[in-house]
């Protein structure tokens, strides 16, 4: 199984999310993350779906058959911009507070809530950077972790290389 990132332009209508996820479910593919939001055009939404699947050729065609799906692109991580936002609460006794805040500074993580036993950060950036931060603070104890799901778009210069279906 490898990870694929799909950028799917859909009509902003009820049940579209269910139609898309149902199609992936039929094949037994796990959705690693899915981020949905409106686009500059109010009638359209953009879904960024990260899915664990051996290959996606057939699923892309089937997704495109959904009446509400307007456009699908599979994004090559090397040729696209990927960002994620994370909220993370790290266990922090008074003695460890300084160390943890220092790690946060290196990663441009913003402390947004400091309590007697923990610190909450917000971090954004490339998924790899976020994962690195998680690994560095893991030894202190992660109390809670929430990710937004990946959003992605093709890089400008190479975007013409990306194969769009229709």
């Amino acid at each position: 199984m490898s990870q694929h990132t799909l950028s799917v332009l859909v009509e902003n209508k009820p049940s579209v999310l269910a139609r898309v996820s149902s199609l992936l479910a039929r094949r037994g593919f796990n959705i690693h993350s899915m981020a949905v939001g409106p686009t500059a055009d109010e009638g359209m939404s953009r879904m960024t779906i990260v899915v664990d699947a051996p290959e996606l050729e057939q699923v892309k065609k089937q997704l495109h058959k959904l009446v509400n799906v307007v456009r699908i692109m599979e994004l090559d991580p090397a040729e696209s911009l990927e960002r994620e936002v994370m909220l993370i609460r790290v266990a922090a006794t008074p003695g460890k507070r300084g160390e943890i805040l220092e790690i946060g500074t290196i990663f441009k993580a913003t402390a947004i809530d400091v309590g007697s036993t923990s610190i909450a950060f917000t971090v954004d950036g490339e998924p790899r950077k976020i994962n690195d931060f998680v690994e560095l603070v893991r030894p202190y104890g992660i109390v809670e972790l929430v990710k937004s799901g990946r959003v992605a778009m093709a890089r400008d210069v190479r975007s013409r290389k990306l194969k769009a279906i229709r």
């Binding site: 269910a18 057939q58 089937q62 495109h64 959904l66």
Partner: protein, 567 residues
């Protein structure tokens, strides 16, 4: 400005789409729609079960090429419709289903007769709608018919809550379609057409492999011209029977698991498959790795998701089958037809040496194949033949000679038992001047016989031949071949029900033939009756199996021609 109710708008919208018949069953949530239909020129045919209504709409669509319409209530009625929807989806049957729904405020509250219809039918439809604003009704119905009938046809469901049907709106003519994500490709790109012509010119042993896409696109005339111009023999899949006349010298009949030797072998030996409106179904290919191993593939289909799904073609063509054939014909500008004598001689040699065969003894039990040959002889090729799924379906497809499209109706992809009787009712309703003869098995028949009541009451005089072998015959065949003859749950008994009495009880004429010499005269009797439905029970050989056969997942090179060939 004067207003009408959502229900009136629905019926008006159906009229606007040119609907002439709705097959349905009323109920609580759909009640408002059953009032204005009284004032409409649309004929409502009252089915006895919602599954029957759905298959009737399918049969109507198969026979006429128009969109079949079914209307039922919420909850159990909608769930009963799931099978016809799934059937129509896989067999690309254009259909619009209208379902009632509990009032909007009750949706999601486990109200009486509530089911999450659009959720349940999402994977069983091409598209579906849950309408919450009555003003959307004219446009939604218009879109539903457009989606059902265009591209790769299929079923579309529109779910209408009762309060939406009761609400007032100002009628407007359906506006221009607003479907930014739905633009089926009709015309093929010229490049692959040119490449296809080059491959066809170079091929030594080409085969045209055509299916339901030809029938749906109305491409049979173009197919005939193209086959004759290029002198390529044609195999027609179960869904494509009648795409070319079986009497044509280039026609090879049905390929696949129970296909004839010539059709199967021609594909195995072919160096080029010109595939149009087909989907390389597992019942055609057997093991895909050993299917047509020497052939390059041209694959044309209106549905891009079918291309490369099973077999990666050398030439993919996305487009409507009729347009693709027209474009191929435009590029095929040869004055002389290619000389295919060697290949056609080989193919015709197989036809001569390996014909379909069965052995009807004058004093033995009735062979089902004999019934079909006699039916064909007496009823003639203009008959619309309808079948369900199983042995009877395979024998009907093998032994009938289809000479034109839309004369063969069956449940192909989903394999729905109980399809034949209601589909025949729908076909006859749509083509009242045609003889409609269902060829059914006893197992299939027992799943939906109540629709014969619909046929009687609505004066839709279909005919039904039951090939009664007292068993789920195809399952029994597999248990005999692959489970060491351990027969499990396949015995239906031959005496109960009494089909003649059952038919009479439902207002039909019931007839029975028990010996070979009774077959012809009983069929003649059935043909002489035209004021009521007729059910003819043929008491057939319980041990007959369908041959040729390629075991599931096996190689088409290992085709078994008869019982004597069994390993």
């Amino acid at each position: 400005m004067s207003t009408i109710t959502g229900a009136q708008a629905l019926i008006k919208a159906l009229e606007h789409e040119g609907v002439e018949i709705v097959f349905g069953v009323p109920g609580g949530a759909i009640l408002p729609a059953y009032d204005p239909i009284l004032d409409s020129p649309i004929r409502h045919i009252l089915a006895r079960h919602e599954q029957g209504a759905g298959h009737m709409a399918e049969g109507y669509a198969w026979a006429t090429g128009r969109v079949g319409v079914t209307m039922v209530t919420s909850g159990p009625a909608a769930t009963n419709l799931v099978t016809p929807l799934a059937d129509a989806l896989v067999d690309s049957v254009p259909m619009v289903a209208i379902t009632g729904q509990v009032p909007t405020h009750a949706v999601g509250n486990d109200a009486f007769q509530e089911a999450y219809t659009t959720g349940i039918t999402m994977p069983a439809t091409k598209h579906n709608y849950f309408v919450t604003d009555p003003r959307e009704i004219p446009d939604v119905i218009h879109e539903a018919f457009h989606i059902a009938a265009t591209g790769r046809p299929g079923p579309v469901l529109v779910d209408l809550p009762k309060d939406v049907l009761n609400a007032e709106l100002v009628w407007h003519q359906p506006a221009q379609l607003n479907l930014p994500g739905y633009k089926p490709t009709v015309d093929a790109h010229p490049r692959p057409i040119k490449d296809a012509i080059r491959l066809i010119e170079a091929a030594q042993r080409p085969v045209l492999y055509v299916g339901g896409g030809i029938i749906k696109a109305g491409a049979h005339e173009e197919l005939l011209r193209f086959a004759e111009a290029t002198q390529i023999p044609v195999v027609t899949t179960l869904m494509g029977r009648g795409a070319i006349s079986d009497l044509h010298p280039l026609a090879l009949g049905m390929p696949g698991m129970h296909g004839n030797y010539t059709a199967v072998t021609a594909m195995q030996k072919s160096d080029l498959l010109v595939s149009i409106g087909v989907r390389f179904d597992d019942r055609v290919t057997g093991d895909p790795a050993t299917f047509a191993p020497h052939a390059k593939v041209i694959h044309a289909d209106v549905d891009p998701a079918e291309i490369g799904k099973v077999r990666v073609p050398e030439i993919p063509i996305v487009g409507d089958a009729r347009r693709v054939l027209q474009q191929l014909l435009e590029k095929w500008d040869h004055q002389t037809t290619p000389d295919r004598k060697k290949w056609l001689d080989t193919v015709h040699g197989w036809q001569r040496d390996y014909p379909l065969h069965y052995d009807q003894q004058p004093d033995g039990p009735i062979k089902p194949q004999y019934v079909i040959e006699e039916l064909y002889r007496l009823a003639g090729p203009d008959t619309i033949v309808v079948s369900g799924v199983g042995q009877h379906q395979m024998w009907a497809s093998q032994y009938w000679k289809f000479t034109e499209p839309r004369k063969w109706i069956n449940s192909g992809g989903l394999g729905t038992m109980g399809f034949a009787v209601p589909a025949a009712v729908g076909a006859k309703a749509g083509r009242p001047d045609d003889l409609v003869y269902a060829i059914d098995g006893d197992g299939c028949f027992q799943m939906t016989p109540q629709e014969l009541i619909t046929a009687s009451v609505e004066r839709i005089p279909i005919k039904v031949a039951i090939l009664n072998n007292g068993a789920h015959g195809m399952v029994k065949q597999w248990q005999n071949l692959f489970y060491g003859g351990r027969l499990s749950a396949v015995d239906l008994g031959r005496d109960v029900p009494n089909y003649v009495m059952l038919a009479e009880a439902m207002g039909c004429v019931g007839l029975r033939a028990e010996t070979p010499d009774e077959v012809g005269p009983t069929i003649e009797k059935s043909l002489a009756i035209d004021d009521r439905p007729v059910v003819v029970e043929f008491v057939t050989d319980t041990e007959e199996m369908v041959f040729p056969m390629v075991p599931a997942g096996g190689s088409n090179d290992d085709i078994i021609l008869s019982r004597e060939d069994l390993p």
